[in-house]
């Protein structure tokens, strides 16, 4: 072990900071969430993490993400909870008919709130980093949310040293971001050092894509209605970030190894969230979503 940041794992210590509360790691099969699991496995070793994984599902993730999720959970021997907003299931909410804003709002934001209430979780870990987006830069590591799951940027508690105030009133909850101070490069380096498996979608491969509004969308299943004259073509693409497949743009790439991905990332010139359609809706959209209860 060297004296590097990774050997020290200091941010993960937060996982062990918690009193015995009901906690959950909200998981999707994005790489940073699995980084979170790997970290939790380490933080509590030789015990298992004393909390389950919660997947707030939208039914619209890539198939590879579901496969990866199930395999990882069974390999690690963890408990997985999957929650789908029943209202969305009933109405068949999808990004094509209902648009990305409503889709995200109902499946993800409302779904997450419902799931936390349903299971009675008062702490949910997420993988957000402060370097991702401007409104995230001021987010706390322990982010207090009201009983209605709202984030009030003006009422945040000051966080000094490593002295986290974890007290809350009944109904209030925390979103906890152990990776707050990590950068995208560090996440990739850690994955490489620890040989953490990642969803194959991060690696370049021939995939059927269509181009819509400047974004390359992979046709992941036959639920995707094609516009007249639109024919999927095979391209070597990969993803820098993963979400619902109709809302996640791929990039053209030949990087089919971890080293290749990292090299590409270091040489590229757009931020990772750029592939996410939801951030572009309006200038301060992330901040707005967060006050409504999004991670």
């Amino acid at each position: 072990m060297t004296s590097s940041r990774f050997a020290q794992l200091n941010t993960f210590s937060i996982l062990a900071y918690l009193p015995a509360w009901v906690v959950a790691i909200v998981a999707v099969a994005g790489r940073r969430y699995f980084l979170g699991e790997a970290a939790a496995m380490k933080a509590f070793y030789p015990s298992k993490p004393p909390f389950p994984l919660l997947h707030v599902d939208t039914t619209w993730k890539f198939r590879a993400m579901y496969e990866f999720r199930d395999k990882a959970v069974s390999d690690l021997g963890l408990e997985l909870l999957v929650y789908q907003n029943p209202e969305c299931v009933r109405l068949g909410i999808n990004p094509f008919t209902h648009g990305s804003v409503l889709h995200t709002q109902m499946w993800k934001t409302e779904g997450l709130r419902q799931a936390l209430d349903h299971y009675g979780f008062d702490i949910a870990f997420g993988g957000a980093r402060r370097d991702e987006e401007k409104s995230r830069a001021k987010e706390r590591v322990f982010s207090l949310r009201s009983a209605e799951h709202r984030w009030d940027p003006k009422q945040q508690r000051p966080e000094l040293w490593r002295a986290f105030n974890v007290r809350r009133r009944p109904g209030e909850s925390f979103r906890v971001f152990p990776l707050s101070n990590w950068t995208e490069l560090e996440v990739w380096q850690y994955i490489r050092l620890e040989q953490i498996p990642i969803v194959p979608l991060y690696y370049a491969a021939q995939r059927p894509v269509v181009e819509r509004d400047g974004a390359l969308i992979v046709v992941d299943d036959d639920r995707m209605p094609l516009e007249p004259g639109e024919t999927p073509i095979e391209k070597s693409v990969r993803f820098r970030t993963l979400g619902c497949y109709p809302l996640t743009g791929a990039i053209e790439s030949k990087a089919d190894s971890l080293t290749g991905i990292i090299r590409e990332m270091l040489l590229t010139s757009s931020s990772e969230r750029q592939g996410r359609v939801i951030d572009h809706d309006e200038s301060s959209s992330m901040e707005k979503k967060k006050t409504e209860g999004y991670f």
């Binding site: 380490k42 070793y45 000051p158 105030n165 040489l267 750029q274």
Partner: protein, 635 residues
């Protein structure tokens, strides 16, 4: 991320990453006001180290045209001003963290605002920083706020300071101006004990001496800002010094394994090291350093591990495992710097929660010895601390805690105070030294104890705590209960608010702080009387839930009987036997409960009496009945 695409990155990514993994990290804060160009400087650092993505740059260009202050040119400040509300106001209102790296080092910048009312944010940002960049506008020179920032930097234990003299481009890069500012600052910095200072002439807007040496300052031979940040030697916080390990979690996967998980906050540890578990003081030897990657031969500050010990000791969350040959102190009374961070003023005498390391205890603050005027650094007499005020206070904990002076170890000497009811973080504190006073006053063992006193009187001692607004009928009912107890041959005493204020508490007024102290003293007196085996009737408005809660906590379960004498303000005001409401309404009586001072209604009193519904006699009977039922009168 467009890193300066070194050849190495293209030719050998593995080697490039290996170098990056071993880069050291520097955390620094920037201090200065909106006008000093602080956000511009950070934006410039990000831009010059080529860490601005194209899509961010596109957003920046758009934002610069829409709300920028540079007439359509790139407004770097917009890169770092995060939240929309502040973007509209054009100011930064909180602490924002930014990340960038160069070929030599990784950086985390805490961007803290320079506004007068935001001491809180600066102290927060400084708490994790190893270096401070203090900006001054060359045209304005050293200002009051420069002194304030420097004082806070020094207070928070940051030893490395860069004075960045900005906007020198507007003064034709005058060497005289720069030298004059530098001299003035060095004189001041020496006074407050800042030792390592580097002064750099810059233009954040144009980039002079930020990442590249300026052609406009041939008279300056020092490093650029970025060069200095890349090369300055700073120890990792807690790296030097003796081994300290606050236990966060007892790790028990099965009956055969018992380890203690947490993060090392000082020094290093190896198997075989002699350690003490504090506060119990039991000594043992470190057996293993357990990690998911196998046992370690050594672990250092900043590393999270699980430790096992040779001996089966009782260790729980909040305990500290420490180097047995260099122990931290253990105390329950301290002198501390307190930085008040809440809109509600500090209340001396009130019990707050204090969190230090992984340990949370009850803490009471004494009236400040003084507060520091952060602008003039003068010591000013104070009865309390308000938002953004800094003072020196004695602090009294309900249990002893292991600690090191803040100067020696930030994690072992820095703490936060939490309001028990709102759960807000109301203050940050820095421990300096333990007060030996209390530990030298030993508790004199008494032969005849509370039980013996009570047995002699044939009763169980208790407190009847009457609370309610003025004129509710507390004293009336207490007087009747007193008479009934007397008739029954019981031993009791009535402490009445008005009467106690004529003697013991005659130095106290009616501010919130004085009300808290009023109740604290009465609680102590009551506690002595209960020890003597008496039934004590306490008739005080006692408007705050926090103090009633503290009073209750002083007594055994069942001993404290809260009687809420309840009536509406209208009824109490109509009675107004003492004429106080009339005076208060005329504005002749300030801080009157119910009028301009709050009364917090008890949530779960043992007895609630609505005096608009029942008579004093009937109320007293209810109370006597409660005493009978709970065995107080005939144990």
């Amino acid at each position: 991320m467009v890193h300066a695409a070194s050849d190495l990155l293209v030719s050998d990514v593995d080697e490039y990453l290996r170098l990056h993994e071993n880069k050291t990290m520097l955390r620094f804060i920037t201090c200065g006001s909106v006008d000093d160009g602080k956000s511009t400087l950070i934006g410039r650092l990000l831009y010059d180290s080529k860490l601005v993505f194209e899509d961010h740059l596109a957003a920046l260009e758009a934002d610069s045209k829409r709300v920028g202050t540079q007439g359509g040119d790139l407004d770097f400040a917009l890169l770092v001003d995060g939240l929309s509300a502040e973007r509209e106001q054009g100011i930064t209102i909180d602490v924002a963290y930014r990340y960038f790296s160069t070929e030599r080092r990784k950086f985390i910048v805490a961007d803290t605002p320079g506004h007068e009312q935001y001491t809180r944010n600066m102290v927060t940002g400084a708490s994790t920083a190893q270096l401070a960049v203090i900006l001054v506008d060359a045209r304005a020179g050293i200002l009051t706020q420069t002194r304030r920032h420097s004082f806070l930097v020094s207070l928070m234990g940051i030893h490395q300071v860069v004075l960045a003299v900005n906007k020198l481009d507007l003064l034709d890069f005058s060497q005289d101006v720069f030298t004059q500012i530098e001299e003035e600052y060095r004189t001041f910095a020496a006074e407050i004990g800042l030792k390592h200072i580097v002064c750099i002439p810059i233009s954040a807007l144009r980039g002079d001496n930020v990442a590249e040496s300026s052609v406009h300052t041939p008279w300056y031979g020092g490093p650029t800002l970025l060069e200095h940040l890349e090369t300055v030697v700073v120890p990792v916080v807690g790296e030097d010094g003796p081994f300290r390990f606050p236990v966060q979690w007892v790790n028990r996967p099965d009956l055969d394994f018992r380890g203690f998980s947490g993060m090392i906050v000082g020094g290093s540890v190896r198997p075989g090291d002699r350690v003490q578990v504090l506060p119990s003081g039991r000594e043992t030897t470190v057996s293993r350093l357990v990690s998911a990657d196998g046992d370690l031969a050594e672990a250092v500050a900043g590393q999270s591990i699980t430790i096992t010990l040779e001996d089966e000791l009782d260790v729980s969350r909040g305990d500290v495992i420490a180097d047995a040959s260099s122990l931290p102190g253990i105390a329950a009374q301290f002198e501390a710097h307190i930085v008040w961070m809440s809109e509600k003023e500090m209340l001396p005498g009130r019990t707050y929660l204090l969190k230090i390391g992984a340990r949370t205890v009850g803490a009471t603050l004494a009236q400040p010895k003084y507060k520091v005027n952060v602008n003039t650094l003068e010591r000013v007499a104070a009865k309390t601390l308000e938002l953004n005020e800094i003072g020196i206070c004695n602090i009294n904990l309900d249990r002893p805690v292991p600690f090191d002076p803040y100067e020696a170890n930030r994690d072992m000497g820095g703490f936060i105070l939490i309001d028990r009811f709102t759960n807000a973080t109301v203050a940050a504190g820095l421990l300096h030294f333990a007060l030996r006073r209390a530990s030298n006053i030993h508790w004199q063992a008494i032969q005849v104890n509370k039980a013996a006193h009570a047995a002699l009187k044939g009763q169980k001692p208790c407190v009847l705590w009457f609370t309610g607004i003025s004129g509710a009928g507390k004293s009336t009912i207490a007087n009747i209960v007193e008479r009934k107890l007397h008739e029954r041959g019981r031993h009791f005493y009535l402490l009445d608010g008005d009467n106690v204020r004529h003697g013991l508490n005659k130095d106290l007024g009616f501010t919130d702080a004085d009300r808290v102290e009023n109740i604290r003293r009465v609680t102590e007196v009551t506690s002595l009387m209960v020890d003597a085996g008496l039934i004590v009737l306490v008739s005080f408005i006692s408007p705050f839930a926090a103090e009633r809660h503290t009073a209750r906590a002083q007594f055994a379960v069942g001993e404290f009987i809260e009687v809420h004498v309840d009536t509406t303000l209208a009824v109490a005001e109509a009675r107004d036997r003492k004429g106080l409401y009339r005076k208060a309404r005329r504005g002749e009586l300030a801080n009157f409960t119910g009028i301009d001072s709050p009364y917090e209604v008890p949530e779960n009193p043992e007895i609630r009496i609505d005096t608009s519904q029942i008579s004093g006699e009937a109320a007293a009977d209810l109370i006597i009945e409660h005493l009978n039922r709970t065995g107080i009168l005939s144990p």
